[in-house]
Amino acid sequence: LPITPSKEDEVLAETYLKRFYNLTEETGPTARQGPSQRSRKVQEMQKFFGLKLTGTLDAETLAMMKKPRCGLPDVHIGH
């Protein structure tokens, strides 16, 4: 079932997406249509791990983010 992520989970997800999926701060006017950058980044992460592409922080996605892992970005290689 969909869950409402806690404040702690939101922070974790933001750090995770910034580190591994190059999530940047969204500034300027919000687009009226299309998924947000964060949603796209969550989907990118879900695609990599073979999770359902919801674009939201569901329980499976959060559980995967909390697992111990290598700190090297998956998609964008930091220079």
Binding site: F49, G50, K52, E60, K67, P68, C70, G71
Partner: protein, 374 residues
């Protein structure tokens, strides 16, 4: 596998230096873990590694914590365990382990340094993260017994894509190189599953070191390593079933049975097969099934099956019976079994036989991956 846009070392002769040690392990254990981790890659490629104790090596190895000056701070215990840089000068190729982790040599507990190091050296040599959950280069840590570790096929393909194969390996006639373990494909029509079970509405399909989770919200089943969820469970299990009575999943291999509750192994397990009411002569079972209609557990052993009353903790009288007596038309050995939405599914080789428990009739013959969305 994936690579860092083909970043690679220009030479196959590389040096490494261990700059400092973790207090979690002895110096000899760290040395051995690092050496073995490099050899994982040397075995399947032309790369050779020489240790130096001073000066700058191609691969500088250190244990460090928090912000350590490379713009990629560690985060304390758990989370990020280590990172490494792609081949290149200066920091390129270097490996940093998060000193806030507990690294181990033999223990299943916390993080085995050999496994973490072998993964990081993959980056040092030019491999990025793989999305194959069975690959060493998959970014999530999962325990594998280092004594029996064998570099998976995906990683072998990756390193050989960059550097080519090991020129020194000439398999002797009749003694071919052991085939690297590969990740099973749900869409392989010849796939033979080890075991299947339900778990609170999910369906779980076990094969080798892996299992797929399939649930209604997920259009594609999710493949995971068994060890990622339950580090204590063995690979290549024999059978599994969900006990609705105890809200647990029972997992069988050989004479042992484990009970799992969520991510935990229930304390007191593994137990013997005998504890499930099976006679001493049964050395392993082939499949197990919880029949919701009768609230009985069926154990399949060769051409026979037993009926176990979990509530009374005893085997029902009149068993074992021949499988084709209870399930007409089932002539081959049952290798896995479960019930879904009132129907019973018996797996045998690459086929799955659908039965109605009411009429005891065989309704359909399906492929093994019917539930795996192929």
């Amino acid at each position: 596998f994936s690579t860092f846009d083909n970043l690679k070392w220009k030479t196959n002769q590389l040096t490494y230096r261990i700059e400092n040690y973790t207090p979690d392990m002895s110096v000899a254990e760290v040395d051995q873990s690092i050496t073995r981790a490099l050899q994982v890659w040397a075995k399947v490629s032309p790369l050779r590694f020489t240790r130096i104790n001073s000066g700058t090596a191609d691969i500088m190895i250190s244990f460090t914590r928090g912000d350590h000056g490379d713009n990629s701070p560690f985060d304390g215990p758990g989370g990020f365990l280590a990172h490494a840089f792609a081949p290149g000068p200066n920091i390129g190729g270097d490996v940093h382990f998060d000193e806030d982790e507990d690294f181990t040599f033999r223990s299943i507990r916390e993080y085995n340094l050999f496994l973490v190091a072998a993964h990081e050296f993959g980056h040092s040599l030019g491999l990025s993260h793989s999305n194959d959950p069975g690959a060493l280069m998959f970014p999530i840590y999962s325990y594998t017994d280092p004594r029996t570790f064998s570099l998976p096929r995906d990683d072998v393909n990756g390193i050989q894509y960059i550097y080519g194969p090991n020129p020194d390996v000439n398999p002797k006639p009749g003694k071919p190189d052991p085939t690297p373990p590969s990740t099973p494909d749900a869409c392989d029509p010849s796939l033979v599953l080890d075991a299947v079970t339900t778990l609170r509405g999910e369906k779980m399909f076990f094969k080798g070191r892996f299992f797929w989770r399939s649930y209604s919200q997920n259009s594609q089943p999710e493949q995971n390593l068994i060890k990622t969820f339950w580090p204590e469970l063995p690979a290549n299990i024999d059978a599994a079933y969900e006990s609705l009575l105890s809200d647990r999943v029972l997992i069988f291999k050989g004479r042992k049975v484990w009970a799992i509750s969520g991510y935990d192994i229930v304390s007191g397990y593994p137990k013997s097969l005998k504890s499930m009411g099976l006679p001493q002569t049964v050395k392993k079972i082939d499949a197990a099934l919880y029949d919701e209609g009768s609230s009985k557990t069926l154990f399949f052993v060769g051409n026979y099956y037993y009926s176990y009353d979990e509530e009374k903790k005893r085997m029902d009288k009149g068993f074992p019976k021949r499988v084709d007596e209870g399930f007409p038309g089932m002539k081959s050995k049952v290798t896995a079994a479960f019930q879904v939405q009132g129907f019973t599914y018996l797996f045998s080789g690459p086929f799955m036989f659908e039965y109605s428990m009411w009429t005891r009739r065989q309704l359909r013959v399906l492929g093994n991956n019917y539930f795996l969305s192929c």
